[in-house]
Symmetry: C2
């Protein structure tokens, strides 16, 4: 069982993730990205997919051409957990490459 | 400019695509797929992505772990066109492999 973040932990985590928004209804964090084109967008998704599979923690995501919308939450925790924060940081690192 | 399908053409096309549903609000077709796991789902998405880029026609899609939801419509046509029907057939062929 994975513990969800407390409110204080969540506030701390969000302070460190300025590109991410908090989705209260889902107890999740979201980030929207726009790339130059589909190849760039799907290339990014492929990097995230390999990282996610290795971490055994998978995003909910949507792609339309050059746009990718990502939502992270932890089903086993019933909400946002430290695993989502780690994944958000890893996604940010891929974006910033 | 790409022409959207007429009602009769659309009815014909949907007859040939039993796995796809018509989304009237979007003038689009949709298909939901469930795979064994994330690797299978993202592997499928990668095959579709390469085909879509080659065809220069891209799906709207959403993935959550082993599930993939696809929506096809043609923005340049303002609705469903023959390009979507061709892509749906190509996606069905990938699924049936």
């Amino acid at each position: 069982m994975i513990e969800p973040l407390s409110e204080a932990e969540r506030a701390d985590a969000l302070d460190g993730l300025p590109e991410w928004d908090y989705d209260e209804a889902r107890d999740a964090i979201t980030r929207s990205l726009v790339f130059a084109d589909f190849v760039e967008a799907f290339g990014f998704m492929t990097q995230v997919a390999l990282m996610a599979e290795k971490a055994n923690h998978h995003p909910e995501w949507r792609n339309v051409y050059n746009r990718v919308e990502i939502l992270l939450t932890t089903h086993d925790a019933g909400g946002l957990s430290g695993r989502d924060v780690e994944m958000a940081e890893a996604i940010d690192a891929i974006v910033d490459e």
